[in-house]
Structure formats: C-alpha cells, structure tokens
C-alpha cells in the first residue's frame, strides 16, 4: 500500500514538468516578489488572453538561465536593481529589443542603449530624519551623512545590500574611489548601531529614538504609511531628497529584459510593451508607491505629495560598472561591523 503510494507520488513528480511552450503564454524569471507582479500580470492576461508563468528567486536565476541555454523556457527576466540587469547583459543572456512603443514610453536614460533592458519603475534612495530631533534643512545631501555632527545618530541596513551598493557606486562615480572611501568611513563613524535589518527597520529605529537619521528607499516609507500598523512609526520621520538642489537624488530602477532563448518572443514583447503603458505603470505606482518610468504617468497620491523629484542624471550603466569597486570599499571600511 505504502509502496503504491510512493510509486504514484514519484510518477506524479515526473509528470509535473510537462509545460509545453504552447502559444499564448509568457514565462518570467523574476527577482521581484510574485505578489507584487500579480496585479500587473492579471491585467495583462485580461487584456490579451496571454497566460503568464512566474518563478521568483533572489539568487541563481541567471545561472539557471545560462545553463538551460537555448532550451530555456524563460522569456523575460524582471529585476529590482540595475546591477542584476547589467549582469545579464555582460553574460550575454539577453537580447536587444527594437520597439517603438517601448522607446516612446521609457525615456532614454532609463533603458539600455541597445534595448537590452528597460526600466519599469524608479525608486529614490532617500534620507529619513527624525521630525523631533533634526531641524528642517539640517541635512540636505548624501555628503552630509559623513559630517561629525551626526556621530552615533545614523542607522542603515547592511552596506552590502544592492541598494546601498548602488548608492556607494554613485558616490564613486561622482567623487572618485578615494574620496568616496573617505566619505564612507565618515558615515560608518556616525552609525548609531551595527548595520542590520531592512529599510523599514531603520525608520522604526528613528521612531524608537535609537537614531535620528536613516537611509532608505522611497517606497518603503510610502508602504509604511499605507499600512495602518506601521503608519505611526513612518510619521515620526521627515523625508529628505538628498542633493535635490545639486546633482540630484540617487535613483535605482526595477526593470525587464528579453532572454536569448525566449520561446514566446512575440508574447514577451507584448508584455514588455504592456508594462510600459500608462495602465500598467499606474498599477506599479499604486501597489508599491514607486515612481513610474513612463513620464506620462503621475506617481500615486502619497508619492505626489512628496513633490517633484530631481533625479541624479548619472547613467545607470555607470553605477553598475562601479559595483565591484563599491563592494570592495565596503569590505575595506569594514562597514558592516
């Protein structure tokens, strides 16, 4: 009896993989949580009747894609960070897309020059300051974070997190490696505690009085405001768009790329187009309080209240290129300890 059950189970295990790349579907490898994609993909399915299939993981998808080679069922890769996109390009896993709709909807600085990736949303890396303990205008730039007056008052997540690495890369791009390292040392000296947790945890720490200044992505704050259990904590902080009066605030992107193998190429491009349309961009903006990549779409109500954003016009490509240097810098400064 047990043996029979086992045999059935094994047979079922082997039968599961059957997923013919029939017409009418798109397969996605996603670095972004499936639940965040769901409303978008549902809208796409409703409009086109094309089915979407997703695998979400934060590691190993590029390796899986590479090894599966020409037989890979994946059509699209969706990421939450420029460095992952850049990696796909460097390893030759994605192909160019020459498409008028995409080029019209996504501004030039938010896509790869040869169409090897397209940004779908942008997110600003902001400074959060305690409303109680930090005066308005007391801190206005990323450079200020290294100022002595913030000693033992700053909280951040791990310096190795891709969002911080991208910020540090932009500092290298603007100031050179040496000056950036000096700045990072200054920032480390100002930390109130060992880097830990996620971006939300830094805001919570300000609310708790553990620190006065934190660094975090814009949508975490927006999402905390939308969550009634976290609203009070979010309301303890003031948003600062660093360097708004200078070179602009550091931004990162979430984006999409078409794989080399793409068995459902046409459907995949249709989905890419769809994601760049105002309809989809609006969903992105509402569901995760990010900035739409399509300039015709307004940010959601909460985000719009924060005012216009002046993004740093440093190319994303360049940020990605400094990634390794930034990682090594974090190690040398011993930021996380």
């Amino acid at each position: 009896m047990r043996l029979k059950l086992a045999a059935t189970a094994l047979a079922a295990a082997c039968a599961l993989p059957i997923q013919a790349s029939a017409d009418g579907e798109v397969n996605i490898y996603s670095y972004r949580q499936a639940y965040l994609l769901e409303p978008l993909l549902n809208a796409f399915e409703e409009e086109t009747g094309i089915e979407t299939n997703v695998v979400f993981a934060k590691k190993g998808l590029a390796e899986r894609l590479e090894r599966e080679g020409r037989n890979s069922p994946a059509d699209l890769v969706m990421t939450v960070d420029i460095s992952r996109l850049n990696e796909l390009v460097e390893r030759g896993l994605v192909q160019s897309v020459d498409n008028d709709t995409l080029e019209q909807n996504i501004p030039e600085h938010l896509r790869h020059p040869d169409g090897k990736w397209f940004a779908l949303t942008t997110r600003a890396r902001l400074i959060f300051a305690s409303k109680e303990r930090v005066e308005e205008g007391e801190i206005t730039t990323y450079e200020d974070l290294a100022d002595d007056k913030w000693e033992d008052r700053i909280c951040t997540r791990s310096g190795k997190h891709p969002y911080n690495i991208a910020l540090f890369s932009s500092m290298i791009a603007h100031h050179g490696e040496e000056a950036a390292e000096e700045w990072l040392e200054g920032l480390k000296d100002n930390l109130a505690r060992k880097p830990q947790g996620g971006d939300r945890d830094q805001i919570k720490a300000i609310h708790a009085g553990e620190c006065d200044i934190a660094i975090g992505n814009s949508y975490y704050y927006g999402n905390m405001l939308n969550d009634e259990n976290q609203r009070e904590q979010a309301e303890a902080v003031r948003l600062i768009f660093p360097n708004a009066d200078g070179r602009g605030t550091h931004i990162n992107i979430s984006g999409v790329a078409l794989t080399n193998s793409a068995p459902n190429r046409d459907n995949a491009i249709r989905l890419m187009e769809f994601l760049s349309t105002p309809q989809a961009q609006k969903i992105y903006a509402e569901a995760n309080t990010e900035y739409p990549a399509n300039p015709e779409v307004e940010p959601s109500g909460i985000v719009a209240e924060w005012g216009e954003i002046n993004p740093d016009d440093l190319s994303l490509q360049e940020i990605a290129e400094h990634r390794n240097a930034a990682v090594r810098m974090v190690d040398r400064v011993d930021y996380d300890n």
Binding site: R64, P73, S158, K160
Partner: protein, 562 residues
C-alpha cells in the same frame, strides 16, 4: 547482551557476509552515489574556474572575521544543542515526572519552526520598538535607548540562541532513539558496581549513544554552517555571508564555489576526526525489548527541575513564536487568507513526502550495502553521498542545475539531430529537479541515522538469517527493517520537516507558478512584511507538527508493543 568487539572480529570480513553478497548491492550503491554526488562535483568544478581570484581581497579584509565568527557560532550552537538535546532526551527516557509523556513529543516542536521565522519573531518581540522593551520603558520611565542597556538580539549571541533553539531536536531525536535502544540492564549493572546515575550517564550511556549523538550534532553543525536567513537578518558575518557576497555582489560564482568547497573540506575534516576518534569502537547491542526501562522516581523538587528543563526549550523554541505568529495571522487575516493557500500546502506536503521516501530508500540501500561490503570504497561512497548536506542550499541548487540542464540539452540535441524534434528541458525546472535536490541535500540525514543504527545490530543476526537460506535482500526486509523501524521513522520525519522548511534550493529550482508554503512566506518576509504571511508561516509550523506527533508516538510505541 551487549558485546564490544574489536574491528577485526566484526562481521565485515566474515565469509558468510562477504561471500558473493550479490554484486548487485555494490553496483546499485555505486551508481546511486555517482548520481547523488554529481551536484557537489559540479560545484567543485565551478570552483576551478573563478571569474577572478577573490582570496587576496578576502584575506586582506573580511576572511579572518568570517572564519572566527563561523567558528564561534558553531561552537555556541553545539553547546546549546548538546545541552538541551541530551538533558531532555535523558530526562524523558529515564525519569518519571509529571508531563513526561507530553514532553516526549513536545520536545520536537521547535523543529517545525524555520530558523528564519524564529529570528524574525524574536526581533519583533525584543527590538527597541517591540513590546518587551516598550513595556520596560513604561515601567521604569526610560525615555530612549541611551537610558538603559538591553541585550541586542541581532548579534552573534542572538543568532547562536535562535539557531540552537530550533536545531536541538536533531540531537534530542537521535539521542533519545539511542537511549531507548540501549539495554536497561547495562545501566543496572553500572549502578550495582557503585556508579552514580550521573557518572553512569557519562561513562556508560553516553559512550554507547555516541555514534547517534555524533550524527545528530554533525547535522546541527552543517545546518548552522549553511544557515543564511538568520545570519543575514542579524548581520552576523559568517562564511556563508561571505560566499553570497562573492556570488551576488562581486558576481563571482567561481569564487563563491571556492568558498563552498572550502567549507565542505572543513566539514569533511570534522566528520573524519570524529570517526577516527572512535575507530576502535564497534558496538552491537541486541535490543532487549522485554526488559522495560525502569524510570527514576524522584523527589518533587527534582521532578520540577525536569519539568523546567523540558518546558523552557519548548516555550522559547515553539510556544512563544507560534503565539506571536498566531497574533500576526489574526491581525492580517484578510490579506493572507486566500485560495492559493490549500494548493501551496498540498505542494509542500507532496514534495516533503516524496523526498522523505526517496531519501529513506536510498539511505537504506547505501547503509545496507556498506554493511554487506565493508570495504574502503564503500565507506568512501557513504561519505561522498552525504556531502550535499554540507553545502549551502543555493549553491547546491546551482550544482543541481548544471548536470540536469546538461543532460536535458544533450538529449535535446540528439533528438534534434536524429528525429528533427526538440525535446526541450525534461528534468530541469520540474518537480523532479526539486526532489533530486532534496535527496542530495538530505541524504546525509537518512543514510547517517540508518548507518549508525545498523552498526548496533550484531552481525550474528545476518549470519543466522543467511545460514537459514535468506538472500541479503530478504535479510534486510525480514530482519533489519523491522528492527530499524524506530530509526526509519525518525529519519523520514527529519527529512519531511526539513524539506518543508527548505527555501533557497526550492526557490531556484521550482517550476513556473509553483509555490510551497516556504516560498510563499519568503516572498513577503524578504519584502520586510513577514506579518502578512504569518498565516502560511504558522501552517508550516503546524504541518511540521503533525508528522512529529504521529511519528514520535510510534517511536516510543516500538518499545512497548514488541
């Protein structure tokens, strides 16, 4: 009843066991090992081709700290798990106290809680903004963090405690099974020769249970070495953290594979040392089930100490996290209660059940082959087939993709060339890939425990069975398997619960649109919203409890029934 025989007298070289013991066992074992070792081999091959030599940078900067932190974590976890595991296993087996029968299985409850979940729960409880500190501030009128000192949960010590709390059941399970299998008369003899209960424990009971405890502890240590969720969340910089940094941030998979291989070597050395230290020991205990264990009757205060020793790990390792999750689940019920729920639960149950069965069958095959052919080669095969456990799940997943995708693409090319059709990917990205990965990863659990249990069955059993005309296969089914029932159940249970919680390999290898409870929880937890997935997290915990109760009952059942 129990005889300690030196190695050269064991059944290994006995003609009855060695003679023509059907080469089939050996060949099957060799083939199985070859297949199972492929992913590990793939990682080692990846390590030969790094994108760039990472060692100079690591040596200059973080490596020394990674190493020291890793060692501290492992030693700390070893101490905690040994202490809790042995003390409680001993108490529930040998002492009579109120609630003993309850604790027999309740001690296993923390095992159902994934380390990343318990870490999250305690952080939210003990954080500055959490209920504990907030209450303390209200009571004592402290204003902020500068007014008082409070232990930092996100620290090496915190991680040690969290990991120890959910892993001690490994030691408990195997130690308890070993204690139950020991003949009570041994204990009686030691006592009658003037040893106290405590000294008997250290001089007789523990040495006999040592192979089992060693298996339990090495499982604990390997899990600790590979833990990513907890150390990442607590920002504790272990080797695993360095490995993922090299892979994800420096984009150097080869370098990451080198670190993984180094960690592997580390584990191999540890395990070899342990085996070497008891190379001269061979223990065979004929289990005497008719002689019931006579438990100590103790004074009331001592009984209460037993209750406390058993209750504390359960409260902190299970009850408190479960209640907290339950509370979150209640708060966010509307968001987490949806139709995917049952499907995800079924997926988890299906994978865990199939993987538990597969690993058990392969584990028994290998361990029994080793009993039949106790050769150097067979020993090495045993060790090789267990290596998957000593590798971080995500790295192993890449190791699984490499041979599977190579096989798929090969078949595809042949099909294209000869028949002009494409077979596409047959195995990669399927449930098969997942079950293969789980088997490679958790084979150490089943093979290890079956092997250590088989060692305790005297070869005269085999000889008797064989001389009565049974083949090795018949002997296995008719003699060994019934005697191993408790061990088999334990091994299956451990694999079942482990697969239920397994995350990194599942994420990377799963088919499209395929969610398990663990992956479902992770997508929220990784977005700093574990509260929203508290319900499925609670279900992982609860689903892990059911087999624990069932199987634990039948383990203790083996003794009273037979």
């Amino acid at each position: 009843m129990t005889e300690a025989i030196t190695a050269d007298q064991t059944g290994a070289d006995h003609p009855l066991l060695a003679r023509r013991t059907s080469k089939r066992w050996l060949i099957t074992a060799a083939l199985t090992t070859a297949i199972v070792v492929m992913p590990v081999l793939s990682v080692i091959i990846l390590a030969l081709f790094p994108e760039e030599n990472i060692w100079p940078h690591l040596l200059d900067t973080t490596l020394p700290r990674y190493l020291i932190t890793t060692l501290k974590l492992m030693v700390g976890v070893a101490i905690i798990t040994l202490f809790i595991g042995l003390a409680t296993a001993w108490a529930v087996t040998m002492c009579e106290f109120p609630g003993r029968r309850f604790f027999e299985w309740a001690m296993l409850l923390p095992f159902a809680v994934p380390a990343y979940v318990i870490a999250y729960v305690y952080t939210s409880l003990l954080d500055y903004a959490g209920p504990v500190q907030t209450t303390l501030r209200e009571w004592f009128g402290w204003r902020n963090a500068t007014d008082y000192w409070f232990p930092e949960i996100r620290s090496l010590e915190g991680a040690t405690l969290m990991i120890g709390l959910v892993l001690y059941p490994y030691v408990y399970l195997l130690a308890r099974a070993a204690f139950l299998e020991q003949s009570p008369s041994l204990f009686a003899v030691s006592r009658s020769l003037g040893h106290s209960a405590l000294s008997t424990f250290f001089r007789v009971v523990l040495p006999i249970a040592r192979p089992a405890v060693a298996v339990g502890l090495s499982l604990v240590l390997m899990e600790t070495l590979n833990d990513f969720g907890t150390v990442d969340f607590f920002a504790v910089q272990t080797l695993t953290a360095g490995l993922f940094d090299t892979w994800m941030n420096l984009g150097n998979l080869g370098g990451a594979a080198q670190i993984a291989t180094t960690m592997l070597a580390f584990v191999v050395i540890l395990v070899t040392l342990e085996r070497y230290s008891r190379r001269k020991q061979q223990q065979f205990a004929a289990r005497d089930n008719r002689d019931p264990i006579r438990r100590f009757t103790m004074s009331f205060p001592r009984q209460m100490i037993c209750v406390a020793v058993c209750a504390l790990p359960v409260i902190f390792g299970f009850l408190l996290p479960a209640i907290t999750l339950g509370q979150y689940a209640w708060e966010y019920f509307d968001e987490s209660w949806n139709t995917d729920f049952i499907r995800n639960t079924l997926n988890s149950l299906f994978l865990s059940g199939t993987a538990a069965l597969t690993t058990l069958i392969i584990g028994v095959t290998l361990a029994y082959s080793r009993r039949l052919h106790n050769s150097r080669g067979m020993q090495i095969m045993m060790r090789l087939s267990s290596l998957g456990y000593a590798m971080p799940g995500a790295v192993l997943a890449v190791g699984v993709i490499v041979p599977l995708a190579a096989f798929d693409n090969r078949v595809d090319s042949i099909m294209r060339d000869t028949f002009g059709i494409s077979s596409g990917l047959l195995l990669s990205g399927s449930a098969f890939a997942l079950i293969f990965a789980y088997t490679v990863r958790f084979l150490a659990v089943s093979a290890g425990s079956v092997e250590s249990a088989l060692q305790k069955i005297t070869p005269s059993m085999d000889m008797a069975s064989r001389s009565l005309g049974h083949t090795p296969g018949q002997t296995l089914v008719k003699v060994h398997l019934p005697m191993l029932r408790g061990t088999l159940i334990t091994a299956a249970l451990v694999v079942f619960v482990d697969v239920m919680k397994e995350l990194p390999a599942t994420l990377i290898l799963r088919p499209f649109n395929f969610e398990t409870l663990a992956t479902y929880v992770y997508q929220f937890a990784s977005d700093e919203q574990l509260a929203r997935s508290a319900l499925p997290a609670l279900i992982i915990v609860l689903a892990g409890i059911i087999p624990i109760i069932l199987m634990s009952k039948s383990i203790s059942g083996t003794r009273s029934i037979s």
